[in-house]
Amino acid sequence: MVPSSYYLALAAILFSIGLFGVVSKRNILIVFMCIELMLNAANLTFLAFARQSGNMAGHAIAFFVIAVAAAEAAVGLAIVIAIYRTRGTLHMDEVRVLRD
């Protein structure tokens, strides 16, 4: 059996990649993918801890998170389409009407 600390390390790496991508990537779709990566890193942590302690709550939480992530992606992609229709591009730097 693979020790759960391996999963925790993998999840932490995935989370860091996701957070870094959100900050540094300029394409809106890639930013959304990075957010999904962060959510899945959290899922993996929940599952690793749940398996380690034999507690079922973590497994259940992961399913809810998957469902919520799908709902969020649906709304997010709808907004992406609206952005594309009003601007004709998905580059973050073009989206800057609102600023101080």
């Binding site: 925790l8 999840a11 989370f15 996701g18 957070l19 959100v22 809106i28 930013v31 959304f32 957010i35 962060m38 959510l39 890193a41 959290a42 899922n43 942590t45 929940f46 690793a48 801890f49 380690q52 302690s53 507690n55 709550a57 973590g58 259940a60 939480i61 809810f64 998170v65 919520v68 709902a71 969020e72 709304v75 997010g76 907004i79 992406v80 609206a82 952005i83 229709r85 009003t86 601007r87 989206v95 800057r96 009407v97 609102l98 600023r99 101080d100």
Partner: protein, 524 residues
Amino acid sequence: MDYLPFIQENLRSTAWFRPELALTFGAVLLFLLDLVWRDAATRVSRLSAATLVVLGVAAALLAVQPADAQMLFNGMIANDALSIFFKWLFLAAAALTVIISAQAKDIRPERSGEFQAILLTVVLGLFLMASSANLLMIYLSLELVSIGSYILTGFKKGDRKAVEASLKYVIYGGVASGVMLFGMSYLYGLTGTADLPEMARRIGTLSQTMAQAQAMGGQAAIRLTLILAVIFVLAGIGYKVAAVPWHMWCPDVYEGAPTPFTGFLSVGPKAAGFAVALRFFYGAFAAQPGTPLFDAQGLGAAVAGIPWPAVIGVVAAITMTLGNFTALGQTNLKRLLAYSSIAHAGYTLMGLSALSKTGMQSVMIYMSIYLIMNLGAFLAVIVVAQTTGSESIYEYRGLGKRAPLAATAFAVFLFSLTGIPPFAGFIGKYYLFLAVLERASGPAGNWWMALAICGALNSAVSLYYYARVLKAMFLESPYRDEPMGAAIGHRMLLGAFSAAVLVFGVAPGLLVQWTERSLQLFRG
């Protein structure tokens, strides 16, 4: 495994869940009515009336609900006086938003039904946020509020500003909830449970073992993980209340969203965020009554060796300072009010940081008063924008001559937001400062005193930019002289809001008593 007890518990719990059920079915009903009445000439008024009926039914069910505090749905939801207090705030904010939006031009008539239905689901999410007692429930309710808010922010689909605001909201929101969820996963791993009351007990034990281990020089890793996990969870809460450094979405979203919804966004989710924060910090990270730690140092004792009050206090000081100083240079009224709402989140965090009974009460008082004065301020912005089509401060020149009622009411709200007596905002600030100064005589009193002074200085700074609006309204001459009309409902609401601000400012007794009765936090 025997599932029957779980099902029975769920069925039993519905008796305390009727307001939420009314909101759920009401939202579905509104989607249907939207189709049924699609060609009716009086569509908007009919749909708004239907929404008010749904909210009224929810309010009636909430009023007749048996009052005993308890856990519902196998410990997912806590039904206690604290959550019921916040539920009344959300119902009030939603009803006022429906009345305001019915006469505002921001929402096109053909999409009015969708707006009201999604607003109801957001209210449902706020209800669940105020009462969730489990990490999963906190996450789910927060997302229910967020996803509805993303849609309503970008409600004007073809509008560049609205779509951009919505995109920024969904990205910041997605990151904040992802970070929060990651923090929750570590809290779950450290304590082995997702239930807040049970987690509180285990963290208590954990901090005792950690204190023993620390004497021997070990366990630094667990402590560091716990700190990181809580700070990550704080990101989700801080994003909802718009606290620095999770405030960046706030000005853009407030400017881009339809103004009636901006008003709702500035009071509803903010109050819900504070409800979650109260339950999270008071429930799990403040010392439990009846434990040796509580007897020695009171509710605000540091659990797990980390001075949580100091952490929240620093966030509070930075939040109000940044909010106020950035607001100084704003010329768009919606952005100005957005930065002012960040500053107000900072003041309220001051009450939260005290982690005392007075602190909890002051947060509740401030949120109810803030609801009235901030909705009022946004209503004044709506009234001006209806005629001029702009939210720029230059349109407010000579408003005292063009629309005396709106200008006077706006002045009342701005004075109240500054915290000048005899307006209600003063009462709210008074209790916040009281909570902080109470701690100033205790251990590390100088820091509390510094926080209070920081809050007082910030109130002075805020007077400067509020006064800029006042000066434009009353001292400068208008571009155009013709009087500015306003919808009759908006005029009545402006009058009612100003009256409420004055009444709560002169006679806050009822509100104070009500919050005192609602201080009970059910710990399972």
